[in-house]
């Protein structure tokens, strides 16, 4: 490596800004972050932008192809499904169901996990080892299986599948945050901070949280893709969101009967879903790489 650089200027920007600059160098990740932001916007604004109600059935417009097809109409750009419902409206509302609820689930699981994981990280002895064993069991179970179990107890429905996904992700978050906290409590800067007289609350607020936050953000980004997938799969196998609701997985399952006749009823929700998950994964990957690079500097 070249030690001597001609145009080097001292880098005094904040860690987050450095991270963002490194992240921007990866163009794929940058584009994916735009797609991610667009989908997030749609998840919030989608229900307002939808031209029709997602439940409205037009009996004179059954299985109309998308507007770029010769037989398509411009008043329903993505065509209609077997009951004459406008697919664009359903997808717009569906993004806020599948993607929006997935993100909400991650935020909720993150806050609960931060609380329980930090408390667990501070505790020692029998309590900690009991929690270890329980977490070991919960972590071996894949999150989708836990979600299926919880839905089996609570009964089908979009609200229940949301809670199921939150509870199913919780062990991962607790485990992740607990290991971070226990690792960091042994570090010199935390001990020095304690010797200055900081109590547990202050240690958490000023020493632990600023050092954990980046890892937590990256972990949560990866968790978003799995939570969206879980919600959608539950909807698809028919134990999540129920039939008239415009959840993307449920929409695909509903249109299976007319799949061969009119593929767009399955393809368009599928592509939307794929874009949501792909952009999330690429953003998470890019953030992780950027963080690795910044630590090397």
């Amino acid at each position: 490596m070249v030690k001597f650089r001609f145009f080097s200027s001292p880098n005094n920007s904040s860690p987050f800004r450095q991270l963002w600059r490194l992240f921007q160098r990866n163009h794929f990740a940058l584009v994916a972050s735009w797609v991610f932001a667009f989908m997030l916007l749609m998840a919030i604004l989608g229900p307002l932008l939808a031209p029709y109600s997602p439940y409205m059935q037009q009996s004179d417009m059954l299985l109309v192809p998308p507007s770029w097809d010769v037989n398509g109409f411009i008043q329903s750009p993505f065509g209609t499904d077997a009951l004459g419902r406008d697919i664009l409206s359903r997808i717009l509302v569906g993004i806020s169901y599948s993607f929006g609820l997935g993100i909400l689930a991650v935020i909720l699981a993150l806050s609960l996990g931060l609380l329980i994981g930090t408390l667990a990280g501070f505790s020692k002895g029998v309590k900690a080892s009991f929690l270890n064993h329980v977490l070991d069991i919960a972590l071996t179970m894949p999150s989708l299986l836990i979600a299926i179990v919880i839905v089996a107890i609570l009964g089908p429905g979009i609200a229940n599948s949301f809670w199921a996904v939150v509870l199913a992700m919780l062990p991962q978050f607790i485990h992740h945050i607990r290991t971070e906290v226990t690792d960091m409590l042994d570090k010199d800067f935390v001990i020095a901070y304690r010797l200055d007289g900081a109590n547990n609350m202050q240690v958490f607020r000023f020493a632990l949280l600023p050092n954990m936050i980046e890892n937590i953000i990256i972990f949560s980004t990866m968790a978003i893709s799995s939570s969206v997938l879980d919600i959608v799969v539950l909807g698809f196998i028919g134990i999540g969101a129920q039939s008239p609701e415009p959840e993307l997985g449920t929409m695909i399952a509903d249109s299976l009967g007319v799949f061969y006749l009119s593929p767009w009823t399955v393809m368009l929700p599928g592509i939307t879903l794929f874009l949501c998950i792909l952009s999330t994964n690429i953003v998470g990957d890019g953030l992780r790489h950027a963080l690795k690079e910044r630590r090397l500097q």
Binding site: S129, N132, H133, V134, D136, I137, L139, T140, M141, P142, L144, L145, I148, V149, V151, A152, I153, G155, P156, S225, L229, V232, V233, F236, I237, G238, I239, G249, I252, L256, F259, Y260, P263, V266, G270, L273, F274, I277, L278, T280, N281, I282, D285
Partner: protein, 343 residues
């Protein structure tokens, strides 16, 4: 070594305890009556109730009920289904082999495909290969499994007509079931259409295996790539390179032996996910395994069946995790020393 086995055994004991307590508590968590959940009889009349409660120790404390429950599990009395009224134990173990078969073939397939690709991606001579393999793997990772299945059905079954869309075997072949693993059953049977039936079973297997393998393949590619990169940067590999070993020798003697260890660990960690994805795959391809059976049970609110299915699936996941862990330990001596309190 002995200490290690002891630790794993105690972990197995703890896990068994946890799972059985959980499944037992489902009796009380499900919305229907406790006695109905335990016995599998939907509407119990008043005259039978006292006798049945006596039989299931319902008047005693919860701890005695739990041990009675363990005893029934051990004897194979898992109750009867609300819907069909047949024994759940026999139903579960009739459909279980289909799932195991599918999962094992998918894991084998992903092992065969992912490891060469991962090694190729780890080599620094062809950066474009690395980039394209990684891009492919992230696409495969992000593809919702049911959507991938539908795309493949549309192209290969409907469009090209190469593979059937659902089921395990065409209905015109009648194979007596002995072990439940279809390919073995066909080989062991003595019907005169053996070869045709075998190839028909393979054609039915192709699409579900590919769909199910998509997730483990992408995970394995990334793991192999990373660990081969790490191994090739160690000083012992550099020393071997300096001695003048060819890259093939390097790979065979040092690279694979050390680079594939994390892959075994990864396989164990993701076995549970593969089983869950197998359940989804079964629903799409109408594969008669434990997954589609469990989803049917959830649809029909058949609570005793849900309990049995969960017990079997979680038990299978735990046993497989511990087996993979033992395998990892056999290959990696360092793992025997550390590794307290982890699975």
């Amino acid at each position: 070594m002995l200490n290690y086995f002891y630790r794993k055994l105690s972990l197995l004991f703890f896990i068994t305890f946890g799972v059985t307590v959980f499944v037992f508590s489902l009796n009380f968590l499900f919305p229907t009556d406790v006695l109905s959940n335990m016995s599998g009889i939907p509407n119990i009349g008043e005259e039978d109730y006292a006798a049945l409660a006596e039989q299931y120790y319902l008047n005693n404390s919860v701890i005695i009920q739990y041990f009675a429950f363990i005893g029934r599990i051990w004897q194979g009395d898992w109750g009867v289904s609300f819907i069909t009224g047949t024994s759940i134990y026999s139903q579960v173990f009739r459909v279980l082999p289909a799932t195991i078969e599918l999962a094992i073939y998918a894991l084998l397939y992903s092992f065969i495909v992912a490891i060469p690709l991962g090694i190729l991606a780890s080599s620094e001579t062809y950066p474009w290969l690395d980039k394209s393999i990684l891009a492919l793997s992230i696409i495969g990772f992000s593809m919702p499994i049911f959507w991938l299945a539908l795309l493949l059905i549309l192209v290969f079954s409907i469009g090209l007509g190469w593979f059937p869309t659902s089921g395990r075997l065409s209905l015109i072949y009648n194979i007596p079931s002995s072990s439940g693993f279809l390919l073995f059953d066909i080989i062991r049977s003595n019907v005169d259409y053996k070869v045709e039936a075998f190839f028909d079973a393979l054609r039915h297997l192709a699409l579900p295996t590919f769909v199910l393998a998509a997730y483990p393949t992408t995970v394995l590619i990334r793991t192999t790539r990373q660990s081969m990169k790490d191994v090739m940067n160690t000083s012992y590999v550099k020393a071997a390179k300096a001695k003048g070993l060819t890259s093939g020798q390097l790979l065979r003697r040092h690279g694979l032996r050390n680079g594939l260890l994390p892959v075994i660990q990864m396989l164990g960690m993701h076995f549970g996910t593969v089983i869950t994805l197998a359940m989804v795959t079964e629903v799409i391809f109408a594969w008669p395994g434990v997954g589609s059976w469990l989803v049917d049970a959830i649809h029909q609110r058949d609570y005793p069946a849900i309990q049995g299915g969960l017990l079997v699936i979680s038990g299978m996941v735990f046993i497989a995790t511990i087996l993979f862990d033992l395998l990892y330990m056999i290959f990696d001596p360092i793992a025997r020393i550390r590794g307290h309190g982890k699975i």
